[in-house]
Amino acid sequence: MRLLHLVNGGEDLGRSRWFWIGFAAVILALVALPLYQTEFEASNASYYLLNIPLALGLSMLWGYCGILSFGQVAYFGIAGYAYGVIAGNLTETSWGPLVGSVGGLLLCAAVGAIFGYFVFFGRVQGWIVPILTLVFTLLLETFLGQTAGYQWRIGAVQLGGYNGMTGIPPFQIGNFIFQGYAFYFFALSLTVAVYFISRILMNAHFGKIMIAIREDVLRTETLGYDVRFYQLGVFVLAAMLAGLSGLLYVQWGNYITPSQVGLLPAALPVIWVAVGGRNRLLAVAIATYLLNWINYTLSEAGNQYAPVIMGALLLLVMLFFPRGIIVAIAELRWPWRRDVTPVSVQDRSA
């Protein structure tokens, strides 16, 4: 009951009955996707979905807690590579992929904790954090890019340098291998679960502290909260969510390259989150799905304008809907709507 109450808290879009009916309808439509889409289209949809945990993590980090990270893809990459190495070495057993997934997430948490310790317990200024995280991910890219040689072999798996790690095993439980539609359902259920957990977390006490930190670090501190500890906590959480996306990515494509942690992939999540509306989880999830879909559709048509269109979209959204386009749409005064969703705390971190 308490959980239900938290799900319906004020820190995300949609609390009315009609909203939940609509939400259920969308989930139902996604579940029924195999009925009206080919396996290939489902595989594409899995790709759009698997980016959502990363975006939700960034949303909590940036939108709720006010820490912008440009380096979420670093954890995406770390988890992907760790999974590749562990699962690739445990090919004889059926539980290799499971161990690899857990190992990847734990490694993400560990690296995130060490990096976060340096940043937050060093009291680095807020605007330097995005630059630091960016440098970290570029360092990782440079390192991984030169691991082409034979000496960069961990057990039976080669890191593969710039060409990337190939032949990463798909996810598997027992003898059931998640591929095609099965993988789609796997990604969908994980994404939905992550969304609900995030939503509950942000509506709980933890979320309130996040918002307090975003609004005023000093005041939160004088209220007796160890701000650094909470910042570290949300940073590690976001790192693990990015890691989850990384895991799903390598399980989907069976392949990862260092360019996955490069400059452009590093900036893309920031766009998804900003365009959706960074302090509304649902808006971020929707924007992530749609923007990935748009980008794919543009490039499929061989359209050179794709980066220009994405850039212009970003520009227009930031100019005219600074709180995010999905949020702006959601908060329109629809004629059938009696009450306007109360906005909890005005976000001034921008």
Partner: protein
């Protein structure tokens, strides 16, 4: 034949890949090139259903935006030109000749350099001049584009489906899946960077998709579904290094991009320099992000080599050439990538690239009749293009080769076409005769040494009419008997360790 499906013809005419109406095609081709905004025919799903009827679909992924677009756009134009010619009933000379070599079908472009010969010190005479054994005799060859007697392939139109990879590996995977699963393309021609090839190869293998990789690369791909039509290390490194040792002295210094291609090509250089009497006295691997080279230049000056092997890749690393020239570093350079791919000699102000040597397989300046004709056809279709590089030429002859193989197989069934391709083909490409070795799926190429002078004019003082891609053969790869799906690296070859030991004895 094509007129049986007039509706499709119209959509294709709109998309700039029309078949019958040549004037329309040329007009649109020019317009496309002029605006540099090609709109590619994207097929609807209904057309994908009919197998063995309707158009022959060539799936083609390259990067038209992002970092690698300079190469991707060239390759796209090459594919469009080849498809236009096939649909007009043209083909390149050549045919199946069996395993081993060029065979009876080949008349490789025999004409050695005539233009830009200044400064090479080699006397050249034509057929009418005095002949002695030191001189090079040449005869002008004729054009290699002939009538195929077949409009399109087996009477079916050829259609290009060319989405944009945006220099983004994840997107490449999605697009490869779409072309294979959704559009059910008859052949896939794709890939510039090795990373892109490795990204899509697992997908290709799962679907047993016939796949051509047309780029020059580090070598070693042994994959029963993949045909590599570009040159590999052994075809370029050994001739290039042997020429440098002979002309400038034994001591070489390698600077290479710090990733797979650079590291592996550097390994080849290190291993094979001793065999041709040279040695590598220093090696440096440079991250792709480095764009300022004063330290690298100083280290080279410290080592005092006779020549420098430059395996630099990407726009940042290209800055090395003007910076080295300005710093007064005038050592002769040898490479396997420069000029032929990124046309640095056209982009940088002379004399940045003076003294650059590259054992190339093709570049736009190759002074043969057939190549001049090819360049002319290209420029008629894309008058605004700046350059035609080696991977563009590879794409061009690869698509023609595919058309010929389908005609031999009598079907577009991919397994049949693969078998047909494995009958040992010679095709007369603009570079000269190319032989597709059946067992390894790699090509023997006509290799020329391109030299860039002070004014960035290119000459070709030496040529090797056929160099095999022999390394996979030596490893015992035979994809017909033993299909494999992997990429070999030099560390796996004991032969290499032997060469390296050889080197340590000498030094």
């Amino acid at each position: 034949m094509a007129t049986q499906i007039p509706k499709e013809l119209e959509t294709q005419a709109e998309s700039g890949q029309a078949v019958e109406r040549r004037t329309v095609v040329q007009g649109i081709g020019a317009a496309v090139a002029a605006t540099a905004l090609p709109k590619f025919g994207v097929m609807t799903r209904s057309t994908a259903l009919a197998a063995e009827s309707g158009p022959v679909k060539i799936g083609f992924i390259e990067d038209y935006s992002g970092n690698l677009s300079v190469y991707g756009l060239q390759k796209l134009h090459a594919a469009q030109l080849a498809i236009k010619e096939i649909n007009e009933g043209k083909t390149l000379k050549g045919g199946p000749v069996g395993a081993g070599g060029l065979g009876a079908e080949a008349n490789f472009a025999g004409k050695p350099p005539t233009i830009g010969i200044q400064g090479t010190g080699l006397p050249v005479v034509n057929d009418g001049g005095p002949k002695d054994h030191k001189d090079v005799v040449f005869a002008e060859d004729e054009d290699v584009l002939i009538d195929s007697g077949d409009k399109g392939i087996l009477g079916r139109e050829v259609q290009l489906i060319a989405p944009d990879g945006q220099s983004n590996n994840a997107l490449w995977q999605q697009l490869a899946r779409r072309l294979i699963q959704q559009d059910k393309v008859d052949v896939l021609v794709a890939g510039f960077a090795s990373a892109e090839r490795e990204a899509i190869r697992p997908i290709v293998d799962r679907a047993k998709q016939l796949y051509f990789y047309t780029n020059q690369y580090e070598g070693g791909v042994a994959d029963a579904n993949t045909f590599c039509t570009g040159p590999v290390c052994e075809q370029q490194v050994i001739p290039g290094v042997s020429y440098m040792v002979e002309k400038f002295g034994p001591r070489g210094y390698t600077i290479a991009a710090d990733y797979n291609f650079g590291q592996l090509t550097a390994a080849w250089t290190r291993a094979f320099a001793p065999l041709v009497g040279g040695e590598i006295i220093g090696e440096e691997f440079i991250p792709l992000s480095v764009s300022e080279f004063s330290t690298v230049i100083a280290r080279i000056q410290q080592a005092k080599p006779d020549w420098v092997m430059t395996l630099l890749v990407g726009q940042n690393q290209h800055n090395y050439y003007p910076q080295a020239a300005a710093a007064g570093l005038r050592l002769p350079m040898v490479s396997t990538v420069n000029m032929a791919q990124g046309y640095e000699h056209r982009r940088f102000k002379p004399p940045s690239l003076a003294g650059m040597h590259n054992a190339i397989q093709y570049q736009m300046e190759v002074p043969t009749n057939r190549n001049r004709a090819f360049v002319k056809r290209w420029m008629a279709m894309f008058p605004n293009d700046q350059y035609i590089g080696e991977m563009a030429q590879n794409t061009y002859f690869t698509i023609h080769l595919y058309a010929k193989a389908v005609r031999l197989a009598g079907t577009t069934d991919q397994q049949q076409v693969k078998k047909a391709l494995e009958s040992g083909w010679t095709i007369e490409a603009p570079e000269g005769a190319v032989f597709l070795e059946p067992g390894t799926h790699h090509c023997a190429h006509y290799i020329r040494l391109a030299v860039c002078d002070e004014n960035h004019n290119v000459s070709f003082p030496r040529s090797w009419p056929m160099i095999q891609a022999w390394w996979l053969q030596r490893l015992g790869v035979n994809l017909i008997r033993h299909p494999e799906y992997k990429q070999y690296v030099p560390d796996e070859d004991p032969y290499f360790a032997m060469f390296l030991k050889n080197k340590s004895k000498k030094t």
